[in-house]
Amino acid sequence: MAGVSPLSFPREELFSAFLDGELSAGEAELVDELLDGDDEAIDEFRRIQQVQRALRTLPELEVPGWLLPSGHLGELLSAYLDGELSAAEQRQVSDHVVDCAQCRGELHDLDGARIAIRSLPGVDTGQLDRITPPPSPHRRSRIAVAGSIGIAAAVALFFALSLGSQPEPAFSLDDLGNHHIARASAEPGFAVFPPAIEVSGP
């Protein structure tokens, strides 16, 4: 029977930190020692590595266009339309507008407003520049989340299924067990008895 573990933490934790490049030279050497010729340790290491990779290769999602601060060209846009910018500033705006749907939309709206104002009787009309209208800006919508339910809904569904005559039993020992150990854990005697968890037996 094993006594106190030689490491105060499991070796998997070292492997995990090693993969993150967070170990000192001495600790990294220890990892090499642990892995040397120990197939089980190597398997453990590979498993952690797999998880880490799966997480790190999760697709990085693009932020919806409408979300970042609108008009981050700010008053530059209006000035741009009014021909008030220097050549360098104009370049900055047009470079940005090429990539930014949000600003293109805003530019179009501003341009439309400007034209509307300028076509009012009595307003001095200068050169009118039309800018190609961009696709309509993305609007936020309430996304229906398919195939997912929170705990409350899951419980309600469970109740709904259990009403009426069902061939299957309305409850499971796992579920009742969870209810019991939750309540029992509030009592002082709980500390000396291990929680009820389904474990493999002989």
């Binding site: 995990s16 967070e22 498993r47 797999q50 999760l58 932020v63 970042l68 601060p69 981050h72 989340v145």
Partner: protein, 169 residues
């Protein structure tokens, strides 16, 4: 990491917006919650920038992000829903073949679903490390816990994930 120049609010939005969005998305699995968080963080950054004295900017930013997230969770008292990524987003990167797309999307769905099953403290540690890319020290700084605890939580979180995922041996 010490920044000498305080970034402008627009810089922050441009540079960190995506990271903040992905942090929130991976933590909640919910694009609306993620969007809420980005807006809230940018708001707080804007308010806080005037009072910010240069130090560890990223640490400051991630602390704000984390607090904004937790405030949102407490306020809404809503359990993060396990949502599948939908067509609103476009994953970055080169164009893979349709089969590759299908396989990678399915896999990332599994990982996301498993992530959402972890208790918050472990999920956060893993997301800050593997999705946001912070070092243990940076995570410790942002979450106000010792580095040893960060390491344990990351390890525990990965181990739980591994067990939750049906992993081909």
């Amino acid at each position: 990491m010490v920044d000498e120049i305080t970034p402008s609010w627009e810089d922050v939005a441009q540079r960190y917006g995506r990271k903040i969005y992905n942090f929130a998305y991976r933590l909640t699995g919910n694009p609306d919650d993620a969007a809420d968080l980005v807006q809230e963080v940018l708001l707080r950054v804007r308010k806080g920038l005037s009072g910010y004295s240069p130090g560890s900017f990223e640490g400051w930013l991630w602390r704000i992000t984390r607090n904004a997230f937790l405030d949102g969770v407490r306020r809404q008292n809503r359990r993060p829903e396990s949502a599948l990524p939908d067509g609103d987003h476009h994953a970055l990167g080169s164009s893979p073949s349709p089969d590759e797309v299908l396989a990678s999307v399915r896999l990332s769905d599994d990982v996301q679903a498993a992530l959402l099953k972890l208790p918050y403290a472990f999920r956060e540690a893993v997301v800050l490390c593997d999705v946001v890319g912070l070092t243990y020290d940076e995570i410790a700084d942002a979450t106000d816990i010792p580095v040893g605890t960060v390491r344990s939580r990351i390890h525990r979180g990965r181990k739980m994930l591994r067990d939750l995922l049906t992993w081909p041996v």
